[in-house]
Every structure is written in C-alpha cells, then in structure tokens.
C-alpha cells in the first residue's frame, strides 16, 4: 500500500520548509530509515528518513521549492500501484489563510472561447472588484470569500456578487469591509466544498496543480527583519528556569478574587512582562538598541510583546513598563494584542521597543531560541511550565525562560545576571509587587 510522505512540522512557528536536496529520485527504491530528502526551515536543516520501504512513485516538489508543513512531498509504494487517490486527495497544508489566484490562463487567442471562470479573487495583495460590485457587496453583506469572479482580469463584477447572493452566501457588512481591506477570513467548510470533491473525480492534470502564495506584506517585513537579525547579529541563547509556585498561586488568587479589581484576566505572560519591566532598568545594555555601532540605552522600559496574528507575527510595544502596575501592564497587553489581531494598530504602537518578550509556553514549548527583533539587543522567550523535582524530592512547577542576546552589545555574564535576577523576581512575584 502506497503512503504519502509529508513535510514534517519542525516547531510551532515553522509554516513551510524548503526542499534543499532530493537524496532519492522518483523511481528509486528506499528502505525504512534511508534519507529521502533534505530540507530546511529558516533556522535549521534536516534530513527526512523513510518511514516505509518501497519505491518513490511520485514527487510533489522539486529542489528549491517551498513546501508547506504537513503538505505531501512524495509517495512511497510498490510499482504499479494505483496512487490516484493519493494524488488527488493531497490535502492542502493546514487551513488556507489566503485565497490566491492561479496563474492566469494565457490571453484568449483569436479563436478561443472566453476563458471559464476561475474560483479565484486575489492577485497578489490586490483584490479586483468593480466599484459597482463593491457597493453591492457592502449593501448586501455578501460573503466575498464565496464569490467567484468572472470579470476581465479576474475582477469580481456585479453579476458575481448577485450569483453568490442567489446561492445564499451572505455574511456581515463588517466582514465585507474586512475582506476589502485584505483581511481574509478562514475558509469555511461550506465554501470549500467544491475543492473537497472526491479525489478520483479530479482530472489528472490537477495532480500537478499548485498554488503560488505570494508573501503578504506583513510576512515580507517579518522575513526581512528576521533574516537581518540572524545574519547581522551575534546571537546566542541562555536557558534557565524558576520555581513558579508563588507566581502560579498569585495568578490563581487573581483569577478567583481579582474580578472586582478587574484583575481576573491577568495572564502569566502579563506577569512576566511586568517583571521584565521592573528588572530591565537595571540592565541598560539589555534595555537597548544597537544602531550604527552605537548602543542606544533607553530611559524607559518599552517592552515589545510578540503577538501571533492571522497575518503573521506583530510586536506592539508597552511603553514605560517600569512604571506601570500589573493591572496597567495587563490592560496594555490585552489592548495591544487585540489591536494587532484586528489590524488596527498604528505603526507608532508597533515601534520603539527596547526589548521584546515572546511566549510559546502556552503552546507547550519547553525551550527555544527566540530571534532578536532588530535593532534590539535581547529577547526573552517564555516557555511552558514543567514539573521538576527538588533535592528534597518535592515536585515544583518550573517555568523555562530562554534569553537570546546580541553578543556584540552584551556579554554572557551580564546576560546571565539579567536572567538570574528575572528568575528571582518571578520566583518571589508577590514580593516584586511590593517594590
């Protein structure tokens, strides 16, 4: 029986990998454990060993191609096997965040019929929709993601909106506005129905079909910034953990009793942000930016707070965190995270950070290597809590912290000192509050 080999997901933040080398070719026989292909993420390189023995019957990508995590890479089976179900049923990686126009059909020649409508709407970042169709969409609240454009240049025209309305595809006016602004909702099951048609029924040509998803602007900015970060800095990461017993107890207290004071929604991350805000002023080279060979030490702790959004990672900034109460920090973090997700933040609210906190703990990450947000000099990764044994045999919740710093600006010892002081502060969080 033939099996699909999929692109593994190497870490939560990795969405796609590049196939660097095919170690085996289509038609080659592989044994379990043989390396089939090598690939890499933006951070690491990996080899993918075969988990089945057999012959490589089909490959979905070539060297240099970017393949979404969990998307099929090749099929291993026995020669002569019917693999059509695997070809057609190749499920797309995860949910699709953007609907993308397929490569445009060649312009109709003189004697070719008008091209059949394509179920696509967006070319690049630009949604093509006529003013009239737009007005109708806003008036009726049609579900624009369910509209099939039939106008010239893949433009949505009035009749397309009417067709969707006739099919009952309605949503809210707000959703139309979002869509027109480029905020594309996750595709609903219903809307995807045609794509989920049985694989066997799909024409064979579709086996080779692919979608090119251009990078969104946010994605491009992240790519540029992260690449610059890793290529230009001397980054290294220190890992440490602390006993989170009192921190968690205090959080529990807030959750149970903090309702009246409006503190019931304070998160672990808020508490870390608060502690970071209090400790940072003691470490001017960490609460700093390195710009053009000069270290810019900040008078205040302007703590960036990494937020995962539909469009990618955004880092709004909590200003003057050193002076803010826990309640204030928590409120700021909530407001900024919400704003980031809705795309309503001003560029000002996302710049000027002196330090960044990123949290993958809630996703079960025990330890990681955060990448510094240039031109900052350090970033703190908040990891999950694991149970550890004390020397006396008691179990305590240990929360991991991963501090990446730029060795150009800071040496190992002061960085370790910062981490140690932060751990101590968090360990005695209730005392820190009193400071």
């Amino acid at each position: 029986m033939a099996n699909l080999v999929i692109m593994p997901r190497q870490g939560q933040s990795v969405e796609s990998c590049i196939i660097t080398t095919w170690q085996k070719k289509k038609g080659d026989r592989v044994n379990e454990g043989d390396i089939i292909f090598s690939y890499e993420t933006d951070k690491s390189a990996f080899d993918e060993p075969a988990q089945f023995s057999g012959v490589i019957l089909h490959t979905f990508a070539e060297e240099g191609d970017v393949v979404d995590c969990l998307a099929p890479v090749c099929i291993i089976g026995e020669e002569g096997e019917d693999i059509s179900s695997l070809l057609g049923g190749a499920a797309p990686a995860e949910e699709k965040k953007e609907e993308v126009k397929k490569e445009e059909a060649a312009p109709a020649g003189k004697a070719e019929p008008a091209p059949a409508p394509e179920a696509t709407k967006v070319e690049g970042d630009r949604l093509r929709i006529s003013p009239r169709a737009k007005n109708l969409a806003l008036k009726t609240g049609v579900d624009l993601s369910a509209v099939t454009p039939t106008g010239p240049h893949g433009r949505i025209i009035e009749r397309d909106v009417n067709a969707a309305l006739d099919a009952g595809k309605t949503g809210t006016t707000a959703a139309v506005e979002d869509f027109l602004r480029g905020i594309v909702p996750e595709k609903k099951e219903e809307a995807e129905a045609p794509a989920a048609a049985p694989a066997a029924a799909a024409p064979s040509a579709d086996v080779y079909a692919y979608e090119e998803v251009p990078m969104s602007n946010v994605r491009r900015v992240i790519a540029k910034s992260m690449h610059a970060s890793l290529s230009e800095m001397a980054q290294l990461t220190l890992n440490a953990s602390f006993d989170a017993t009192r921190l968690l107890a205090y959080r529990k207290l807030l959750k149970e009793k903090g309702e009246e004071m409006g503190l019931s929604k304070v998160t672990i991350n808020d508490m870390v942000l608060f502690a970071v805000g209090r400790i940072l002023p003691n470490f001017p080279d960490i609460n700093a930016n390195l710009v053009d060979g000069k270290i810019r030490r900040f008078a205040h702790a302007n703590v960036g707070c990494a937020v995962d959004t539909d469009r990618g990672l955004l880092v709004p900034v909590i200003t003057c965190a050193e002076k803010k109460t826990l309640a204030e920090v928590s409120a700021d973090a909530k407001r900024l995270a919400g704003g980031a997700r809705e795309g309503k933040l001003s560029p000002d609210e996302m710049s000027g950070g002196s330090f960044t906190v990123t949290n993958l703990g809630s996703l079960g990450v025990e330890s990681f290597t955060p990448v510094i947000n240039p031109p900052q000099t350090a970033i703190l990764g908040v990891c999950c809590t694991t149970n550890r044994l004390k020397a006396d045999g008691t179990v305590y919740p240990a929360m991991g912290l991963s501090l990446t710093f730029d060795h150009r600006a800071v040496d190992g010892a002061p960085a370790a000192k910062f981490l140690k002081e932060l751990c101590a502060a968090l360990e005695s969080f209730d005392l820190l509050l009193a400071k």
């Binding site: 008008a114 006529s130 003013p131 009239r132 010239p152």
Partner: protein
C-alpha cells in the same frame, strides 16, 4: 456650370490672346491749390487732426511698450501692440470717404484704421445719432465713464474721447473696452461705426469681409465693404480664394438674370496697405513675385478688379482713389482692388529689431513722414499756420494723456472680475438665442410658393415612418429619409427668414452631392442659393462675415474631410467671434459636413473630435430623420455656429424610433440632449452618428445569443452634451461602451469615456470602454469591416472588457495586450 450656359467645343479652342489693360501706378498729381475746390479748410485740418491723433495714439502705445511710460504716466502693457506708425495717411484717406454703412475689416495692425473710421464717422453723424449710439452701446457703460471724466458739452468731442478710451481700454483688456477686453489689440472693433473686426490671423479678414459684402449684395443693403490687409496677406490662400469668389462670373451673369432681383457685382474693395513687409519678409523682391500687389488683381477677372496703386503717404491721393472705387462698387461694378503704398516706420511689434532693413531706409521714410509733409504743404499753400497746427497737436496730446490715465485706472476701468463673476466668459461662449427670422421687416425672396416645389410634392407622397401598418419596412424609395428631414427644416427656414442663404460646392442644380438640396434650385433665386467655387476657406469664412453683418447662412463642405481646407475659418473665426466680441456679434451659421462612405482615406473621416475640441462651436451628428430635422430646426433657429455632421451611409434611412414618424410640423430637438433609442438593463451602448444601426445589430446579438439586454443611447449632439441621461443609464446597467466611426485616438468617445468614469465611478462594474475606428487610413469599402466598428466587434469588446460572455468566440482582437501593442506602434 448651369444649363443656361453652353460650353462650346467650337469656341473653346479658338486662337487669340488674353488681353490686359494697364494698371495705373500713383497717377494722382493734384496740388493743394487744385484740391481747394474739393476741401474746405476745416476738411484739410480734420485730415491732419485725424492723422496726428493716430500718430499720437500709437506713439503712446509704443512708449508704454518700450519704456513703460508716456508723458509721465507709467504703465506696463503685457499684451500685443502691432503699430502702424507711418501708415496714418493711408488709413485716414480711406476712412475719409466711407460712411457708417460702409464696413471695414482689418488686420492685426489696424489701430489706425479703427481710429480713422471712428473719427470719420463722428464727423459724419449728427450729434443726436452719435449720442444715441454711445448710449446704447454695452448699456452705456463706456459713455458713463467718459461723460463722468471728460467734462464737455460738445457731443462730438465727447465721442472722440469715447472712441479713444474704448479702443485703449480694449487694448489694455479692460472691461470698459469696446469688447469688454476680450478682443484686445488685434481684435478691436466698433460695429455701430461700421468698424468690423480686425483679425490676428494674417489674411483672416478677407473671406469674412467677402461674407459681409455677400450680405449686402444678397439682401440689397447699402454701402460697400472694405477688406483691409497688408501685402503679406496676399500669400494666403483664403485671400486669393476670396478674390476669386468675389469676382466669380455668376454674380453679374446669373444673379438677378430674371430681372426680378438686384443686379451687380460684389460690393467689396480689397484694400492692400502695401508696406513692403510681411513681418520681416519683403514681399517685393523676396517673398512674392508680383512686384506691385495691384498687378495680382489682373488675373481674377477681365475687369482686373479695377486695380491701381496709390500713394499712401498722401491722404488726398488716397481719398481720391478710394472715392472712385467706392463709387464703382456702389454702381455694381465690383469687386475692386486698391494698392495703397505706404511704409511702416515702426517695427512689426515693439520687439522687432528691424534686422531685415537698414537704418538709412527707415530714416528716409521717417523723413518722408506723411503728416509732416501734409502739414508743410498746407502751410505753404496758406491753408493754415504752424501755430494752428501746433494748437491741434497740443490738444491731441492733452486728450491722449487724459485717456491713458483713465484707461489704466483700475477703479474706472477694471478688468473682468472672474473671481467674483466666474461665469462671465462662460455666458458669452454661446448666444443661445431663438430667432426665427434675422430680418422680420422683409419677406423672403423666392421663385415659387413652397408647396409648388417638386421636392415638397415628392416628399408628401412618402411614408414618414420606416414601417408600415403591419410593421414591415417601407421600401427606401417610398420612405421619408434623413435627407428629407434635413430638406424640410432648411426649406422652411428659407421661406421664413429672408436673410437665409445657402451655398457650397455643387449645391444648385445638382442639389448637393447627396441630394439634400434637391428641389431648392426651383424655389430659390441665385443670390440666396448658389454654387461656390471649390474654396473651402472662402465658403466658411464668408459665412462668418455674412452672419456678422446680420444674416443667417447654411454652408456645406460636402465631405467632412474638407474641414482641413477651412481650418482657420472654422477653428479661429466661426468659433470665436461671438465670445471675442463679448457677445456683441451673433453667429447664426450652420456648417454642414458629411462623413463619407466607400470613398477611401480622404473622403471617409468622422472629424467630430476636431470641431468639438474648439470652444465656441456647437457640434451635432444626428442618425435618424426625426433627429436630423429637429436638430436642423434648432440649429437654424439659433444664433450660434453649428457644425452639422451627416453620414452618407444613412441619408436614405427611414425613421424607426419616433412613434408616428417624422412630424410634418415644426419641432426642435434640443442640442445636448442624448436620446435613448432602446431601453435595456445590462449594458449601455452610447453611439455617435451612423454607428447607431450597428449598435442595434449588436444589441440583437447580445439579446439573442447571450441573454444580455443592451440600452442604446444616441448622443445626437456632441457639444453641448448633457451627461445626466447617460449617467442614469450607467447607474442602471453598470457598464458602458461608447461607439462611433471616428478613429479611436483622441476621439470624442475617449473624452466621453473619461467624463463618465469620473461622474459615475461608483456605479461602474467595468471601466467605460471605447470602440471606434482603427488608427489607420480608411481602407477601401471592401475592407471597411476591419476598420469601422461592426456589430460583432461591439459584442467582442463587451465580452472582452465589460462582461465576459460565456462561449463567446471573438471575431476581432480587442484584448488589452493588443491595444498596448497597437499603441506602442502608434496605430
């Protein structure tokens, strides 16, 4: 050639010689003593006064131009000043013998002529007449200014102030000028004194003056017309066309042949002020070959246009010659040509460094100054003393200082305030009047009652609707066609307005190349309806002059392609005189042009864009008999210049849209009002001209093959144009294609598309698209379907750019890529 004249092969080849008579050159040789019999002392002195006034006026202008100061008065004048210092005797001599029924037309260098004719008129009119004229002119505005500021009880003196002030304020672009400052130096005039417009286009006045003479000739009006030009203008086609037109045989041989109506030649004097230079080019010895302009006249007619040359430095010689010409014109022996040899001591303009002539030459002419010479002769002949002349000089200078002070006073002589009254110029671009008859006092001169016209009788038997009672098409021969609609409107006007006149190439006898005028020959005398020479400039230019003088003209250029031959007359003259005169002049002219078919590259062009581009013209292009008659009625009842496009494809088309067919009674179709010819819901087709019928075919294909419902709007007129109906339609359909037979690039269609995109953007489901002809020459008839928009092409463009039609297999390549490629190549 009319049937009454026989081209006899037996005579055509007879041997012999064409004979010419001697042309007199400066034969005047009277002395002051001789002339004392003809002039009183005051006459002699008045001639001096008028010359001296012109000299001072232009000296003042020159000082202002070059020094920004005249006798202590400082002013900067950025406008033009083409001076005629040295030519005063020529102007004053001519004006001396003209009265206000004699019209003068001038050039860019005509300040002197205006003042001379004005001063002469002031002398000839009674005080009451003068005062009434001044009071009526522009609501008494100018009179108000001069009465308030020049304290005098003497109406004639006041009138001189009025004349100098009105002219100078006009030159300085003041609202209190003769034309509210809109004409300026090169276009100043004053109709009540018979001073008609001067012209900034060299030779531009010749055909216009011809038209004014035609008005006098065809309507039996008194007086003559003087077409003043420089010698440089004799190189211009329109001038030569006008000389030929004025001298054409029919005026004396055919007009009035029935003895019923007035006889005689064209009452026009082509007066050439020969100052030897056309700007810097020397006409004698360099840029022309005729030597004396007078010689040129000999070729136009056996009368040699009674040409002679006169000494323009001697006012009395000019008076003597001009008087003789005027007399013979009044006797019906025109036209005439007079060369007045003179000299421009001043440069072409103040910026002219006179690099083309020597200082000695200028000095010699300055020494020969006509004013000085005349004064010396009068002193010598004891007509007056130097002291008397000095007193005249002083009074003139004193008056001139007062006039300029007043003319530059921003409070007394403000400019148009377009900030306060932004519509002031808009309001005079068209007169928008409805005038049934330009002369209610007369009955139209016709040969038979209208009902007896064979054409009227023939039309009576035609079906006025394209379909019979059963809905079947009526055969072409039996249906009232578009050409009948035009004819009905035109013949009605001929029987209503005595000034209405029609001419063009092959109009009479033939009935026009496309038979619109068939039946008019029997109904109208020659002087109202005649064949013009193949002289498009003279045809259109004379219509301009005919209208200026007070008549209504319908002129025809046969093919729209000939618009190029009458470029200046259409673009600079016909279009601009209403507004350049601040609304004083009216321009009731209908210029008929026909868009050809089957006739190739130079006879098939829809040039609506060229005419629509020029402010001041109204432009229409009807496609149905109902619209043709209605628009022609309104055009003929109006007082604005209309370029009336017709199409040779559809002269025989019957009325398919207006229920009940074309009314026999009078009705008008409003200019600017497009018409929905077919209602629809999915796409709007806006058509210009004859393409309407192909748009209808396209609508049929859309409906039957694709279930798409097209609304068709016929533009009918192009300028003015009301977009409201189109926008209403676009609001409904969301899509619009504009079609027409003009080449796509820079067409009216493109202009409309751009306007619609701006005005209806939010309602559009696709950008407005244009489908015109290719940017090629028009190919042969057999290939026209690749050039002019066809029904299938309209459907293709709709499918390609507006509303992709499922299963559509295009016939034409109208993709965007193709258009980019074509544009790269300029095709």
């Amino acid at each position: 050639m009319p049937k009454s004249q026989y081209v006899d092969p037996g005579k055509v080849f007879q041997p012999g010689y064409a004979e010419f008579e001697k042309i007199p050159l400066c034969t005047y040789n009277k002395t002051i003593k001789d002339e004392k019999a003809n002039y009183k002392k005051e006459d002699f002195l008045r001639i001096y006064h008028d010359m001296r006034t012109i000299r001072e006026f232009e000296t003042m202008l020159n000082e202002i131009k070059v020094k920004s100061e005249y006798r202590g008065v400082e002013y900067h004048n950025p406008g033009p000043a083409h001076l005629s210092i040295g030519q005063e005797a020529s102007a004053v001599g001519q004006a001396y013998c003209l009265d206000i029924n004699d019209f003068t037309f001038g050039s860019h260098r005509s300040h002197g002529e205006i003042l001379a004719k004005g001063l002469s008129s002031i002398n000839k009119l009674t005080e009451d007449e003068l005062y009434a004229i001044m009071k009526e002119f522009l609501g008494g505005t100018i009179l108000g200014v001069v009465e308030k500021n020049f304290k005098t009880d003497n109406v004639k003196e006041l009138a001189k102030d009025f004349l100098l002030y009105g002219a100078l304020a006009e030159i300085f672009a003041r609202k209190t000028g003769f034309n509210r400052g809109l004409g300026g130096s090169m276009h100043a005039f004053f109709i009540p004194f018979g001073i008609f417009p001067n012209n900034a286009i060299v030779g531009g006045s010749a055909p216009i003056a011809l038209g004014a003479a035609l008005y006098k000739r065809s309507n039996g009006k008194p007086g003559i017309v003087v077409a003043n030009s420089g010698d440089g203008a004799l190189g211009r086609g329109p001038v030569l066309e006008s000389l030929n037109f004025a001298a054409m045989d029919q005026i004396t041989k055919l007009w009035g042949m029935d003895g019923k109506y007035s006889n005689g030649g064209m009452p026009i004097l082509f007066n050439v002020f020969n100052n030897f230079y056309g700007m810097g080019g020397q006409t004698m010895g360099e840029t022309m070959g005729f030597g004396n302009p007078a010689r040129l006249a000999a070729g136009f007619s056996p009368t040699q246009l009674h040409a002679e040359k006169v000494n323009g430095y001697d006012p009395l010689a000019v008076i003597e010659a001009t008087t003789r010409k005027r007399d013979l014109l009044l006797r019906g022996e025109g036209p005439a040509l007079l060369e007045v040899a003179t000299y421009r001591v001043s440069g072409h303009s103040p910026s002219d460094a006179s690099t083309y002539r020597t200082a000695e030459e200028i000095e010699a002419w300055r020494e020969a100054c006509p004013i000085k010479a005349y004064r010396e002769k009068l002193v010598k002949a004891r007509v007056a003393t130097n002291a008397e002349f000095d007193a005249i000089d002083e009074a003139i200078i004193e008056r001139m200082v007062e006039v300029i002070k007043l003319a530059i006073n921003d409070e007394v002589s403000p400019r148009m305030d377009l900030a306060a009254e932004p519509d002031m110029i808009s309001s005079i671009m068209y007169s928008n009047n409805h005038v049934k008859s330009m002369d209610e006092s007369r009955k139209p001169e016709v040969l038979i009652p209208k009902e007896e016209s064979p054409r009227v009788k023939q039309i009576a038997g035609k079906s006025r609707y394209a379909f019979d009672a059963d809905g079947k098409p009526v055969p072409k021969m039996k249906v009232f066609g578009l050409r009948d609609g035009l004819f009905e409107a035109i013949i009605d006007k001929f029987y209503e307005d005595p000034t209405t006149i029609a001419y063009g190439e092959d109009n009479r006898d033939w009935g026009g190349a496309f038979a619109v005028y068939r039946g008019l020959t029997e109904a109208l005398p020659y002087h109202r309806f005649f064949n013009a020479p193949i002289s498009e400039s003279a045809i259109v230019g004379s219509a301009v002059g005919y209208a200026m003088a007070g008549g209504r003209a319908i002129v025809e250029l046969m093919y729209a392609d000939f618009i190029g031959c009458a470029g200046d007359e259409i673009f600079n003259q016909l279009s601009k005189w209403q507004s350049m005169s601040a609304g004083i002049l009216k321009m009731p002219v209908v210029l008929r042009v026909s868009v050809g078919s089957k006739y190739g590259a130079q006879h098939s062009q829809d040039w609506t864009a060229l005419t629509a581009h020029i402010p001041g013209l109204k432009v229409c292009f009807p496609a149905t008999p109902y619209d043709a008659k209605g628009l022609m009625n309104q055009a003929l009842n109006g007082t604005d210049p209309v370029v009336f496009f017709e199409s040779q494809r559809i002269y025989d088309v019957g009325e398919q849209f207006h229920e009940g067919g074309v009314p026999t009674d009078y009705y008008e179709v409003d200019f600017g009002d497009p018409d929905v010819k077919k209602t629809g819901s999915d796409v709007t087709i806006l058509s210009i001209g004859a393409v309407l019928y192909r748009a209808l075919d396209a609508a049929k294909i859309l409906e039957e093959k694709y279930g798409v419902s097209a609304e068709i709007i016929d533009a009918r007129s192009i300028v003015p144009f009301n977009y409201e109906k189109v926008i209403e339609s676009v609001k409904k359909t969301g899509r619009i294609i504009i079609v027409g037979d003009a080449v796509d690039r820079n067409s009216v269609m493109r202009d409309m598309a751009s306007n619609i995109a701006e005005m209806a953007f939010d309602y559009l489901d696709a950008p407005p698209v244009v489908f015109g002809s290719r940017n090629w020459i028009t190919p042969a008839f057999e290939l026209e379907k690749f050039y002019f928009p066809q029904a299938e092409g309209i459907v293709d463009v709709i499918s390609e750019k507006l509303l992709p039609l499922p299963g559509r297999v295009p016939t034409y390549n109208e993709t965007e890529l193709e258009h980019i490629e074509r544009s790269k190549k300029g095709v």
